[in-house]
Symmetry: none
Subunit: 208 residues, 4 copies
């Protein structure tokens, strides 16, 4: 990579990082492009060389941050060596809940965006982490565990994801109806319920 190339990358990253800081601290509509370029130490016009407008950088940030979170969760799972699909799902949910609970700013930012729309993008776009493919990883989990079988596994993921992000937002940001710590067991029971709902015959809750 040429020196010039490196410099460009640096500018883009400076804008990216400062924008995230400002978005999470002052809100999106409370952040102006002036704020961002001032914080990044570049000229106003430079912003437009890298992003179309404020919403462009916001969208790119959401995808990026969500991807990071998922990738971290994936790495965590590998380290933890959890086996079995259901425990793996619970592990991933817990991992992400912990991260979001520690970092409410991030949660607030990606809130309601860590959803199917983002997943589509993550699934379709080339990951920033070379060679990592979210969809494939998910489907691999499933096929590795012969004891489970679901109708519409992608739809199930969507359902769980929406439930988790939505309730988690309420608990972490508003502490309503209770803290995440208190709500967490109920959330896991609800996830189990959903898994059951999507399970095919021969794999259900009651059969021992």
């Amino acid at each position: 990579m040429g020196k010039l190339e490196v410099n460009k990358k640096k500018k883009r990253e400076a804008l990216f990082d400062r924008a995230f800081e400002l978005f999470t601290t002052q809100g999106i509509s409370g952040t102006t492009i002036s704020d961002i370029v001032n914080a990044a130490g570049v000229a106003k016009g430079t912003f437009y060389l890298y992003f179309r407008d404020k919403y462009d950088i916001r969208n790119k940030l959401i995808v990026h941050k969500a991807e990071e979170l998922l990738y971290q969760a994936h790495l965590g799972l590998q380290d933890a060596k959890v086996t079995g699909f259901v425990p793996q799902i619970h592990f991933l949910v817990d991992f992400m809940l912990d991260r979001l609970n520690e970092n409410p700013a991030l949660l607030n930012f990606i809130y309601k965006n860590l959803s199917w729309g983002i997943f589509r993008e993550l699934f379709e776009e080339k990951s920033a982490h070379e060679g990592f493919d979210f969809r494939q990883a998910y489907l691999d989990f499933l096929s590795q565990d012969a004891s489970v079988s679901y109708e519409q596994p992608e739809l199930m993921l969507f359902t769980i994801l929406e439930l988790v992000s939505s309730t988690c937002h309420s608990c972490v940001i508003h502490h309503m109806p209770m803290s995440l710590k208190e709500y967490r067991p109920f959330l896991h029971r609800s996830i189990d319920g959903i898994l059951m709902g999507f399970g095919t015959v021969g794999q259900d809750c009651c059969v021992s």
Copy 2:
């Protein structure tokens, strides 16, 4: 009520109704106070006699519209004479899904606000519909049905509500991952799963 009093009410309602129309068609940040007062046929300053700013009227609209929807669903349930708690929940969900499916503008507007925060307000504040108490109505459903018993029934309602509004939004607004029509059966299965998760022993899915 004096003539003056009636006139005030009319003005407030005109602003309220036009603001809703504009918010749902042009978005909130795409709607200016000028737009609202022009549509309502009142002077700019009049707006500020009734609302503090754009966000004040928005918040009041969200509560109002959510309340209307719930109240309609409640009336619908009474007419339908459905019995049993679980069927009643499914009825209410279906009723609201239908309304929201017909009226995506409304859905988009109250999206992620038809949540616990709103419920709290609806529960605590005096309803605009004299003598109607949401919380009591819900708890009555439960107690009327001797065959079911749940831990933390309010938490269960919260969980279901978050799931429904979140998934419904994605399906109705983005048609992703599929249309509401196609997703609906899976949603109901997920709700059953959640009910099961919150159910106390002796009342579970598999007992025939």
Copy 3:
């Protein structure tokens, strides 16, 4: 005076007093008619029954407050039984400086208005204090003291008044170039100088 008459007077006085308080605490342009009527506990429209606009009430207040100050000084002089024109002038100046030093809000309010323009009004208008005539009082001082004689005594009063109000404002409000306490001896020396400057032959500074 009828009961209705009394009520009218009360309203006017309430507006007057509250307006003065607000003008001195928030400034004139920082005070709205709404502020005044709210503080006075009357309706917006009522204001216009008594005053033309904000500047009308301001002007009337200035005249009123300046007149009060002068009248107090006059009463103080009578009690003190100071004799001789020059000591009387110094007494009056000191009396007013003390009052203004204690009450910078008043000073700021009448600043640059306790001047010839106001005097004209006070001289010409009928005083609120029945039977009190400022001009005559001043001319009486002069004629009572056979040892002094001035060209243009009214012009001299104007000169002294402008000097006092102008320097006093700077000292009291800005403490610049120094406090009033420190500046006062120099002010008195300057007044003596001016008196000398206006003195006719036979009465000048150097003759012992």
Copy 4:
């Protein structure tokens, strides 16, 4: 200086000059920022690149105009080759009175601002006219004239300045109590009186 630099200076000056015209003809509160930018031929936003608000440009104008006046008087004094401190003071006063009499708009504008506050700024800040130091110039006058000696020379200047600006304003703007032409001799006598009041023993008016 680059082309861009020159252009910026031009814009700032256009705003400055038009603002002064408008302030003196329509008054400050009668002048809007729209008026200023229209007159200057620049966009509304441009104003805010150079000045914080209307009061910012006003303050900067006052300092600037007062400085100009003093500097002109200083130049006039050098040309006139008047010697002796007292005649120099009278010359300066006359010079400024003439200018202000010719230009009542300027007088009205800097009225009561051509005072100690401004002097402090002029004394402390670097003059716009390179190498010109007001305070030093004044002190030099004093020290050059061995025949005079004053206690607190700066305080004396303050006293004279307040007297001149205050009385001058009344005479020029309101022609009250008389025109400046008629009042001028009395003013000079008052100044002499003040000089006397501040003079140290051995230097007074009457000693021949």
